[in-house]
């Protein structure tokens, strides 16, 4: 992975920087011992490792502001880090950069049922928010599979999704306010407990910006009342094509399920061996559909889904008999990654989105890619919204397998783009997909995005080397290219 060339002069000043940071964040908050730094050498994309120059773990917004102001003045790069579960290398350290971790921002600040929101610090885990309001029958809707570990700040930075985002939206649709510190140390607030921006929607563009625009120090999220009942169906299909058609037919019937997940045969077998969820093993595709709402609605929709499934050749249709069985249906899906981890020494989780109708075509062509490179691919999908997570199985200890796995990954992502999809559905671009951005965007598209970066961080000090393949200097990006248009244009109607 090619990263921008580290600045040796900054590396040489390491001790001086650490001392200065200790003045801002006293106590244990500054880490510069090689052994302790190792805990931060990668995020969830473990194939790429790099020791950070220094790690700083501030505890207050004022400290974050002072750290950034100092680094801004001293031209030192910053990598923001939440829980480090990101799968695209967004929190991967830089040799000449300071990793700024938000793990000490652990407090939920305000639970407001009247306004149906929670104000929280960014280091709080996604699940902890739901747990804090659970007794009152509320929850926070976006539920990434990593929810016990990942931080809400990281969720905002990645615009994370989960199995329920088909019906309830992604992070961007479920947050109301953000406090953020800019690279120059300025503290800025967007939104609050009210809706919409009233000016440019800066909160909207920050969501999913992968730590390139600022450090998030507080988040206000919308909470929802739990549905009265939740029911899940387990539906097996003889072929993935049948499964794909069933997904399309359910949506076409006007049904938006709470969740609609699909696993292929390899994944079904791996998870069944691991958690014994009771999955049928004689199927090529297994779907979990969750329906929620009042029981009158759920019963009605279960009936309609069952009908549609049967019309699409379903070989098994099982409705959970009770809550325990519903949780068991999900246990396999939720443990799909570790289950694959048991059958393969290493794996890469791909994350592309495709139009739903292309599912069968993409599956077939993916099988071809897998064969071409001689590596197995297991598939899990957020089928409802076309978000694919092919898992590429490989052994990093075998000569050349990592490189081949990377090729499979980029071939699959290029395929997603080719059929009208996108490079990342929810894991972000980071370093992993950075060099593929040109497949989806033109030079002008990318430049326009980077001009937004310049509005927040003109010196490119925040998380450089991530998301964008090429770092254009802001002065360069700002130049106007005048196309000498002449009037009158004969071909534009004028009045």
């Amino acid at each position: 992975m090619l990263m921008p060339k580290p600045d040796e002069t900054v590396i040489a000043r390491r001790q001086e920087l650490a001392d200065a940071l200790r003045d801002i964040v006293p106590g244990e908050g500054v880490i510069d011992g090689a052994e302790e730094l190792r805990a931060f050498d990668c995020d969830g994309l473990m194939a790429y490792k790099q020791l950070p120059l220094i790690v700083v773990l501030p505890e207050t917004t004022e400290q974050v502001s002072a750290v950034l102001k100092y680094c801004h003045k001293n031209n030192v790069k910053i990598v923001p880090r939440g829980a480090g579960t990101g799968l695209s290398g967004g929190a991967m350290p830089l040799a000449d950069g300071i990793t700024l971790g938000l793990s000490k921002f652990k407090k939920i600040l305000d639970i407001d049922f009247d306004n149906r929101c929670v104000v929280t610090q960014p280091g709080v885990t996604n699940l902890a928010i739901s747990q804090a309001v659970e007794a009152d029958n509320f929850y926070y809707a976006p539920d990434p599979s990593s929810q016990i570990a990942c931080s809400i700040g990281g969720n905002v930075a990645e615009n994370s999704g989960g199995v329920h985002c088909l019906k309830y939206g992604l992070t961007t649709n479920n947050i109301l306010g953000v406090e953020m510190v800019l690279m120059n140390g300025d503290i800025i607030r967007f939104g609050g407990k009210h809706l919409d921006a009233g000016g440019l929607d800066l909160m909207g563009v920050i969501t999913g910006s992968e730590g390139l625009l600022g450090v998030i120090t507080e988040v206000t999220v919308r909470i929802l009342r739990k549905p009265e009942t939740v029911q899940a169906l387990l539906i097996g299909f003889p072929t993935m094509v049948d499964a794909g058609n069933c997904v399309a037919d359910i949506i076409a019937a006007g049904i938006i399920p709470g969740g609609m997940e699909l696993m292929d045969k390899a994944t079904v077998h791996a998870t069944e061996d691991f958690v014994h969820a009771g999955y049928p093993l004689d199927v090529d595709g297994l779907m979990i559909i969750e329906l929620d709402g009042p029981s009158a609605e759920v019963d009605y929709l279960v009936g309609r889904v069952r009908e549609i499934a049967e019309r699409n050749n379903a070989s098994t249709v099982k409705t959970a008999a009770n809550e325990e069985e519903r949780v068991r249906f999900w246990s396999g899906r939720k443990n799909a990654f570790p289950a694959i981890g048991r059958i393969s020494p290493d794996y890469i989780c791909v994350d592309g989105t495709i139009p739903r109708k292309k599912l069968a075509e993409v599956l077939e062509r993916m099988a071809g890619i897998s064969e071409k490179h001689g590596l197995r691919v297991a598939n899990v999908f957020h089928a409802g919204d076309g978000n694919l997570h092919p898992l590429i199985l490989f052994d990093a200890n075998k000569e050349g397998e990592l490189e081949r796995a990377e090729l499979v990954c980029s071939d699959i992502l290029m395929l997603c783009v080719e059929v009208g999809g996108v490079l990342s559905g929810e894991h972000g671009i980071g370093v992993e997909k950075r060099d593929l951005m040109g497949a989806m965007f033109t030079e002008d598209d990318l430049k326009q995005q980077q001009r937004v970066k310049c509005a927040f961080d003109p010196g490119h000090l925040l998380n450089p080397g991530k998301v964008y393949p090429e770092l254009h200097r802001c002065a360069e990006l700002g130049k106007m290219h005048i196309h000498h248009g002449k009037l009158p244009f004969p071909d534009i109607p004028r009045f």
């Binding site: 049922f113 009247d114 306004n115 149906r116 615009n159 985002c165 939206g169 992604l170 800019l182 300025d186 503290i187 407990k193 009210h194 809706l195 919409d196 009233g198 000016g199 440019l200 929607d201 800066l202 563009v205 969501t207 992968e210 390139l212 549905p227 399309a248 076409a252 006007g254 938006i256 709402g293 009042p294 009158a296 609605e297 009605y300 989105t353 957020h382 009208g420 999809g421 996108v422 990342s424 559905g425 929810e426 894991h427 671009i429 965007f441 002008d444 326009q448 995005q449 001009r451 937004v452 970066k453 964008y468 290219h481 196309h483 248009g485 002449k486 244009f489 534009i492 109607p493 009045f495």
Partner: protein, 411 residues
């Protein structure tokens, strides 16, 4: 006389903007012109009219998205969606009549550029939440795109959010892709008809908060004080004789039946509950959506829209009505306040001071042009937020070619 450029395709649009850039000729960007009287007034010699860039390019109901050219009339979009049993779930309002113009003159580009949303905002989000992608020409005279046609997408910065609500000050969209969703099978509206004398607005906030905190999936929560309720074209509402709080449930028939019943039970302590069925419900929520009660009100020429924490709605509105003569409509469970005021002054300082107490923002939606010229129409941006806003404008439109000053001076 003002010069009007009316491109008929994306290539001509690009040329038109490039010409304006080369000539340093600021452009007023419009399509239907239905919201021309919205925002700060501008002095531009040339107009870029997008109304010839129209047509639905791709509509795939099963994929839940539609791509349309920016100048496509909303009436065309609504008709196509209705045919497939779908809708834009954010319920875009038609503010034409409120702003003194014709009904049904809006275009999809205008809806996105203004980031409008109706009563369902509380459940389904605003226009910003439904834009999946776009193609546009920046004030640099360059074509660019962002997003795609799929809902789940974290591939680079989400410029769709930035363009939604930017009032054409950053770039001219040539086409937009929107998420579409199934229209509900059935709609039911519960009305709490307040019988108590005097001010029931606080009670209404409590009732709406109770409903929105219930598991009954309420998709609209509005409150009309007596004077506003009396003006409704729905008899049940206008004849109620007092204030009316309305709560909407939608979805499959059996579910709606069940939830309407359960919600009635939840709310009965607040007063007598009436029900509106699908057709009356549609009329009623359209009135709320389009702020019909304030259309053509020469006695109340000033209209503000306030967005505040929902539980504080009544507090903010009532404190303003103590000082100023006017009327209010509450939507979004109290979080949206439409405030109509008498007289020639917009009273921006009073309005913004009231909002500042709870957090939120206020936008001057309707006012005579001279009032809009001297009043900050959009919530003023301060300190670093103002810096970032200006920097973003410079990134997209450094020479101030596109709708200069329509949102903020210098932006």
């Amino acid at each position: 006389m003002s010069d009007t450029l009316k491109p008929e395709n994306a290539e001509q649009l690009l040329q038109a903007v490039q010409w304006a850039v080369a000539e340093k000729q600021p452009l007023e960007v419009l399509a239907g012109g239905s919201k021309r009287a919205y925002g700060r007034p501008m002095q531009t010699a040339a107009t870029l009219d997008l109304s010839a860039l129209y047509g639905i390019k791709i509509y795939e109901p099963a994929e839940l998205y539609m791509t349309a050219l920016a100048g496509t009339p909303m009436s065309d979009i609504d008709a196509a969606l209705a045919e497939a049993g779908q809708q834009l779930s954010f319920e875009p309002p038609d503010l034409g009549p409120l702003l003194g113009g014709a009904a049904n003159a809006g275009t999809i580009g205008g809806v996105v550029a203004c980031n409008l949303a109706g009563p369902r905002r509380i459940k389904e989000g605003a226009a910003r939440d439904h834009v999946l992608g776009f193609h546009a020409v920046s004030g640099r005279g360059e074509t660019f795109k962002s997003g795609g046609t799929v809902v789940k997408n974290v591939s680079g910065f989400d410029l769709s959010k930035l363009l939604a609500g930017s009032l054409g000050t950053l770039a001219v969209m040539s086409e937009v892709t929107l998420k579409v969703l199934p229209a509900p099978e059935k709609i039911r509206t519960l009305l709490i008809c307040w019988r108590t004398d005097g001010v029931y607005d606080h009670g209404a906030m409590t009732a709406m908060s109770r409903a929105l905190g219930s598991p009954h999936d309420v998709s609209g929560a509005a409150h009309l004080p007596a004077a506003v309720a009396a003006r409704s074209s729905v008899d049940y509402v206008s004849n109620s004789g007092g204030g009316v709080t309305a709560l909407r449930v939608e979805g499959p028939a059996p579910s709606v039946e069940h939830r309407a019943k359960a919600l009635t039970e939840t709310l009965k302590e607040f007063g007598q509950i009436e029900e509106l069925h699908t057709s009356n419900s549609k009329t009623f929520w359209q009135e709320i959506r389009d702020v019909s009660a304030f259309v053509g009100r020469d006695d109340l020429p000033i209209v503000w829209h306030l967005s505040v924490p929902p539980a504080s709605g009544a507090k903010v509105a009532l404190s303003l009505l103590e000082e100023l003569r006017g009327e209010v409509i509450y939507d979004w469970g109290g979080g949206s306040i439409w405030l109509a005021l008498a007289g020639g002054d917009a009273h921006a300082d009073e309005v913004r001071a009231a909002v500042a107490k709870t957090g939120g923002h206020a936008t001057l939606i309707r006012a005579p042009v001279d009032v809009r010229a001297e009043t900050p129409v959009f919530q003023p941006r301060l300190g670093p937020e103002s810096d970032v806003t200006k920097n973003i404008k410079i990134g997209f439109d450094p020479d101030g070619i596109l709708n200069p000053g329509r949102m903020y001076q210098g932006v």
